[in-house]
Assembly symmetry: C2
Homo-oligomer: 169 residues x 2
Amino acid sequence: MVISAETGLFDFSVENSIMNAKKSIFKYIRNMLSKKTKYGIKALAFIAKKGNKKPVQTSEISKSENISQKFLESILLELRKSGFLGSKKGKGGGYYLIKEPEDIRMTSVIRVLEGPIAMVPCVSLNYYEKCDDCPSEEACSVHSLMIQVRDSTLKVLGDNTLADISAKK
Amino acid sequence: MVISAETGLFDFSVENSIMNAKKSIFKYIRNMLSKKTKYGIKALAFIAKKGNKKPVQTSEISKSENISQKFLESILLELRKSGFLGSKKGKGGGYYLIKEPEDIRMTSVIRVLEGPIAMVPCVSLNYYEKCDDCPSEEACSVHSLMIQVRDSTLKVLGDNTLADISAKK
DNA sequence: CTATAACCTACTAATCCGATAGGTTAATAG
DNA sequence: CTATTAACCTATCGGATTAGTAGGTTATAG
């Protein structure tokens, strides 16, 4: 907020021009992978790295991975409800893996946290939705392209398990 | 809005529960490819299909592809400024391709309209940005996974040209 | 000179993301 | 039995984008 020296009132025009400048200078970069999903994967990897079956506290993951604890809580809760994690309340409690890391594919993690893997709903396997505009999917120039992208992404995410990504370092 | 028969007042609790139900039933599906990009690709394909060098009007594309004309105008303008299209004003004017469809890769179109192709800025080639949270990209479990996804997507989008996607049908 | 179609500027509603706040419940330690 | 711990739950919020809409101005063809 800029205050005019002359009038003592808020100078909205200046404020506005600064905001517009910001807009144009710092081009927003769209995240296709939300922080939620990113944090979720990191948390799973963290738990997997520990290896043993003792529960890991949210606070520990939060500190180690620089994630807001409250936000992380909601993510881990969702992962538990989706069957990836088990939990234990009270002292010494926390979250632990239910399945082996080798059996957790990145596709399933991302589908739960993020939603569709496809870039467009009309080529999504699990979250299909027809486009409003396209009368025919076969005639759509974007459709087949996006199917190719989906399939190549699906291949990568399906090949990678939690064991693979938590093995790093 | 629901009106209580007893009090004659708005029953916000009911209203609210309906809205919550809606929220949970109709899960929002995130588009990773914006409509802007989708429309832009469709428009390019439309122009490419025409084949000849006569300018194509925004209104024609808009009607044929079911795209809001004003929105499309802004997209085609951007594509012109980015060097994909040429334009001609006045009667008989419109937009035309500057390069051959074979020479227009989908990667470049998407980068201009959408921005980064990578799912996360920290693995983007053209829009790189460091993550706030990660102290080390090598240690990040998400990083290498997203590099794999990026590369496979880049392969598909780099292999497909405007000629390829407009050849359909 | 007039119709056309590109070009430009500003604004808006709806929506989501990422997070915060403030609590309740269940399990363990002492 | 009591205090502590950590998961669990509900509500709310600011900031930012998307997908337009509105209302013009400029240049070109006939």
